[in-house]
Symmetry: none
Subunit: 132 residues, 4 copies
């Protein structure tokens, strides 16, 4: 699992970490039961404050994505994969819905919006293929 942080990005670092871990779990990059990097290791590796890592792990723990195994470290919870997948779907759905609603509310034409969507989709697909 390769994690990274973007300091310039407006998103809080701990939130970036949370997202990336959830993403990795949903994708199967890390599987339930597997250990994830220790707080200290990850902090050193990313050159960030251990408190920040700790905060991310705490939230993941409270969401039952990872669990603390005393004396050994943090491991991915058993039901985590499915949960992360549905979480992401739900989140994506909500965000998509919000954008569409605002567009419609501001009087944007349906066909115009469809066109924007299709153009965006093609672009995203190309971009995705290029990076993989």
């Amino acid at each position: 699992m390769q994690l990274s942080v973007d300091v310039d990005n407006g998103m809080p670092i701990y939130e970036q970490l949370i997202r990336q871990v959830k993403y990795a779990v949903a994708e199967g990059v890390v599987v339930p039961g597997q250990m994830i990097p220790s707080v200290r290791d990850l902090a050193r590796q990313l050159a960030i404050n251990p408190n920040t890592v700790q905060r991310a792990y705490q939230q993941l723990q409270s969401e039952e994505i990872i669990e603390s195994l005393r004396g050994r470290g943090m491991a991915v919870c058993l039901g985590a994969k499915k949960q992360c997948q549905t979480d992401r779907q739900t989140l994506l759905g909500e965000r998509l819905m919000a954008v569409i609603e605002e567009a419609v509310r501001s009087g944007l034409d349906s066909d115009r919006l469809r066109e924007m969507f299709e153009r965006g989709l093609s672009k995203a697909i190309r971009k995705n293929e290029a990076s993989s």
Copy 2:
């Protein structure tokens, strides 16, 4: 022009005001040249601090959406309507693009995404018609 604030929402109050004013200008609810509520009036009406309103107005002023007429109040700038409209289009486009990209990156099938989009669109249109 009816403004409102949602204190519980994470968004800063002054930013909510900025958005709503821009929205009203883009929609033609207030037209260029027209006066907008005075700092004190709006603060009283929304039960918030005048400084918060002031801050929103100042930023709108620096973006040349409104202008200060000394001793008289704040008025919508002449070129503001067009600017607010394009601003919103650009913003919507970016947000839509971001959602699509993340969906594609997370391996969502194009047809599945299109389906979500169409269902969201229908729902948004119904919702919009109901409220108008």
Copy 3:
């Protein structure tokens, strides 16, 4: 004497009026002893608040540029012309000095500054001839 106000300009209206009256006196457009427009007339003509005109006239009066003739209006004081001329010279000198000082303090080369000055002078002369 033709007075005008520029609302967009940052300078207070009453100060614009003061300047323009002094300018007119210095130029001999109005001569000592001559009457100047009444507060009400001028306010109506420029579509500004009578209070603003009043304020300008009061300050001019306290500087002994104009005097109030009871029941008749405001007139230019006898020694006003000379005073306005020297005032303007002094003011211009101070402003020029301030700009030069800041330029020098910021490390601008003397020859570079001279060049800017000469270019500005030529431009100003052309502009002045064109408008006259």
Copy 4:
């Protein structure tokens, strides 16, 4: 970087700070990437309100002179030095032009103006050398 405020001066404190920071950046007193004093420190040091410093910093941030590093402080932006230098040149040029124009418009003789300029320049240079 040594900042100071003059409360008696008509210029708003936050604007004085903005000017001084820009000046320091243009002069290279602080270099891109370097941290500038924290809001609280500067406020304490100058015996002014943290909000006032905050306001100055926010405006500098919106002009992309400095950037906020979350939880760490404010740092000078990479492209800031050049921008501050050109800004100052432009501003000085405009102010010089304005003075010259008014002088010409008021009928001042070119040679008389040149004389004033040269005298002012010598004086400014002496003053500058004395203080350095």
